[in-house]
C-alpha cells in the first residue's frame, strides 16, 4: 500500500492494521472525496460511494470517513444525501422514493425494499437503504420479524426449518406450506424452498414444477473439443440462435433460444447442462496449468475438471463459482471466487473461500494449504456442504465466510472442532450420488406444455441479433 495522492496539497488519511488485514485510506481534494481504498473492513463503503458520486460535504473529523464512531455520521450520510440521489443502481430507486415509501406508512426495511425494489438487484445498496429508512422513519422504524426467516412465507430460521423438514419428512414445497405455514403457499418462498429441499433430499425431492431456459452446454474446466464446437455451431445455425457468447466462466452460451425449441436443442447438442442458471454449483474456471504454461506449478486444468465433475449441478443457497489457478499469477481469478484453488511451488495447493468479483469485490480467505489434489477435493466438498447447510437463502460466500469467521470455519472444516466433518462429507457424497442432469428429461416435459412459449407473440429473451 504505497499509493500516494497525486498532488502535494491533497489530504491523505490512512489507517493500516496489517496484522488483521485491514487497510483504509481516503484522498480529499478541495474538501471533496476523490478516492478511497478499503480492505478487510468495508463498513463505510456505502457512505464513501455516495460521498464520491454526489460530492457530499465531508465531516470535519476526517477519521469519521474511515470509521463509524457512533452518533452523527450515518445519520449525516442519510440526511445529507440529495433527494434525487440514486441509491439502488440496479433498479433505479432514488432517496426520495424511499423516503416517500416510509412517509406513506411503511415502517420496515424489507417493506420499503418490497415496495420500491431498492436492494432487490445485486443487493449491494441494502445497508444504505436501511440507513435511509431508519433516518426517514425518525426512530420509528420497525423490525420485520421475517428478516430472520429463511424464506418469507415460513416463520422459521434455517436450522429450525431444516429440523422440521427432517422430522416430518417433508419432500415437496406444498408439503412444507401445508405442515409449517398453515397451508398458505407463498410464491416468494418457492425458489428458496426448492433449493433447500433439493439439497436435503437429493433425488427423493418431489418436483412440482420445472422451468429452465438458457442453453449453456457443460464444458468442464472451460475445456472443449473440435467435435463439440462443430456440434454447437451446427445447433446455433439450425435454430437461428441470435447470440453465441463466451461467458466469464469460460463457457459458450447460446442466448435467445426459443423456449419451444429447448428440448430439441438439448437433444441435438447431446451435452449435459452447464448450469448457467439457478442458485447452484456453477462453473470451475481454470488456466492452462503446468502442461502448457511455463509458469504453471500444478495441473490446474485436470483438478478443475475433477472438481466440476464431482460437484456439478448441486443446489445451494447462493451461486457457487469456483476456479483453479496453476500458479499464484492467478489467471483463473481463483482469489476472487466462492472457492478458489491456487497451485504453489512444491506441489502444494492453497484453498481460498469467500472471494467475490461481482457487485462486491473481496479476496477470499485462505482456508488451508494442502499437499494433494485429493485433499483439495475433500475439503472443497466439506466446505461447500457446510455452506449449503448454514448459509441464508441468497447469502453468497463473500457474506457467509465473514459472518461465521474464517477462524471458526477453519476449526470446523480442518480441525473438526464440532465433530461434524464426517457427517458433512457423507451428506455431500449423498448429494453427489443423487445428481442427475435436468435436461435428461428434456425430451418429455415434466408437465404438459412446459416448453410452450410463455409469450406467443413476442420473441424472448429480448437479445439483440448482432450482425458480424
Amino acid at each position: 500500500m504505497t499509493s500516494r495522492p497525486e498532488r502535494e496539497d491533497d489530504e491523505f488519511v490512512v489507517f493500516s492494521e496489517p496484522g488483521h488485514g485491514v487497510y483504509k485510506s481516503v484522498i480529499i481534494r478541495d474538501d471533496r472525496l476523490i478516492g478511497a481504498t478499503l480492505l478487510g473492513d468495508v463498513g463505510r463503503v456505502g457512505f464513501l460511494m455516495q460521498a464520491f458520486d454526489r460530492g457530499l460535504p465531508l465531516p470535519e473529523e476526517r477519521v469519521r470517513l474511515l470509521f463509524d464512531l457512533g452518533g452523527p455520521p450515518v445519520e449525516v450520510s442519510a440526511a445529507e444525501l440529495d433527494d434525487g440521489a440514486q441509491v439502488c443502481n440496479c433498479n433505479g430507486v432514488s432517496k426520495s422514493t424511499l423516503v416517500s415509501a416510509v412517509h406513506d406508512g411503511i415502517k420496515t426495511v424489507t417493506g420499503v425494499m418490497d415496495a420500491t425494489r431498492a436492494g432487490k438487484g445485486c443487493g449491494s445498496c441494502k445497508s444504505l437503504v436501511a440507513q435511509i429508512v431508519e433516518w426517514a422513519a425518525d426512530g420509528a422504524a420497525e423490525e420485520d420479524p421475517s428478516a430472520t426467516w429463511y424464506v418469507p412465507g415460513v416463520p422459521m430460521g434455517k436450522p429450525e426449518l431444516m429440523a422440521a423438514i427432517h422430522a416430518r419428512q417433508l419432500k415437496s414445497v406444498s408439503a412444507v406450506f401445508d405442515a409449517l405455514a398453515g397451508g398458505r403457499e407463498d410464491a416468494k418462498s418457492k425458489m428458496g424452498l426448492v433449493s433447500l429441499l433439493r439439497m436435503m433430499w437429493g433425488d427423493e425431492y418431489v418436483d412440482e414444477r420445472g422451468a429452465r431456459f438458457i442453453n449453456d452446454p457443460q464444458m468442464k474446466g472451460g475445456c472443449t473439443t473440435p467435435a463439440q464446437l462443430r456440434r454447437i455451431a451446427d445447433v446455433a445455425d439450425k435454430y437461428a440462435v441470435p447470440l453465441v457468447k463466451l461467458t466469464g466462466g469460460q463457457r459458450i452460451d447460446l442466448l435467445g433460444v426459443r423456449k419451444e425449441d429447448l428440448p430439441q436443442v438439448w437433444a441435438d447438442l447431446d451435452m449435459p447442462s452447464g448450469y448457467a442458471y439457478g442458485k447452484s454449483f456453477r462453473t470451475v474456471k481454470t488456466c492452462v496449468g503446468s502442461d502448457y504454461c511455463r509458469f504453471g506449478v500444478g495441473d490446474s486444468t485436470t483438478l478443475g475438471i475433477a472438481i466440476e465433475t464431482r460437484f456439478q449441478g448441486l443446489e445451494s443457497p447462493g451461486k457457487m463459482k469456483l476456479a483453479v489457478s496453476g500458479c499464484p499469477r492467478n489467471c483463473a481469478e481463483a482469489y476472487v471466487k466462492d472457492l478458489g484453488v491456487v497451485a504453489i511451488d512444491g506441489g502444494r495447493w492453497e484453498i481460498y473461500i469467500g472471494g467475490a468479483a461481482g457487485a462486491h469485490v473481496r479476496k477470499g480467505d485462505l482456508l488451508a494449504t494442502v499437499d494433494t489434489p485429493d485433499e483439495v477435493v475433500r475439503l472443497t466438498g466439506r466446505f461447500l456442504q457446510y455452506y449449503r447447510e448454514n448459509a441464508n437463502w441468497l447469502e453468497r460466500t463473500y457474506a457467509f465466510v465473514p459472518r461465521i469467521g474464517i477462524e471458526r470455519i477453519r476449526a470446523i472444516i480442518l480441525d473438526d472442532r464440532d465433530g461434524i466433518a464426517a457427517a458433512l462429507d457423507a451428506r455431500m457424497q449423498a448429494s453427489v450420488d443423487g445428481y442427475r442432469d435436468p435436461w435428461l428429461e428434456g425430451g418429455e416435459p415434466a408437465t404438459p406444455g412446459q416448453f410452450r412459449p410463455a409469450l406467443p407473440l413476442i420473441p424472448l429473451p429480448l437479445v439483440p441479433v448482432r450482425e458480424p
Partner: protein, 108 residues
C-alpha cells in the same frame, strides 16, 4: 357500463397443470392463465408492464404472481402491482366443455 366482451376458446383445460401458468393468444391479447394449487383459474395479461417479462413463467400462489425477470409482484385477482408497477389486465376465465375460455373486452 359494461364493455362488450369477446370470448375466445384458447385450448384444452387439462393441458394447464396445477400450480402453473401458461400463455395464450386470445384475439390480439396475450393472456397468462394460472391454475391455482387449491383450485380455480386466474387470467391476467401475459406481458409484465415493467420490462416485458413472461408472466406465465412466474411463480404464483393463491394471491399473487411474481414476474421471473425482476420479481415484480401482481395480484392475480385484481392485476394490481404490489411493487409499484402499472397493473396487469384481468380477464374472466372459465372451463367450457374441456376448453379454457377467456373473455376479452372489445377495444375501446
Amino acid at each position: 357500463m359494461t364493455a362488450e366482451m369477446t370470448e375466445y376458446r384458447i385450448g384444452p383445460a387439462d393441458e394447464l397443470p396445477v400450480g402453473e401458468g401458461r400463455a395464450y393468444a386470445a384475439g390480439d391479447d396475450m393472456v397468462a392463465v394460472f391454475r391455482l394449487r387449491r383450485g380455480g383459474l386466474r387470467a391476467v395479461s401475459a406481458v409484465c408492464p415493467h420490462a416485458g417479462g413472461p408472466i406465465a413463467d412466474g411463480l404464483a400462489d393463491a394471491e399473487i404472481v411474481v414476474c421471473p425477470l425482476h420479481q415484480h409482484v401482481y395480484e392475480l385477482a385484481t392485476g394490481c402491482s404490489r411493487t409499484g408497477q402499472a397493473s396487469l389486465r384481468v380477464y374472466p376465465v372459465r372451463v367450457d366443455d374441456g376448453d379454457l375460455v377467456v373473455s376479452v373486452p372489445a377495444p375501446t
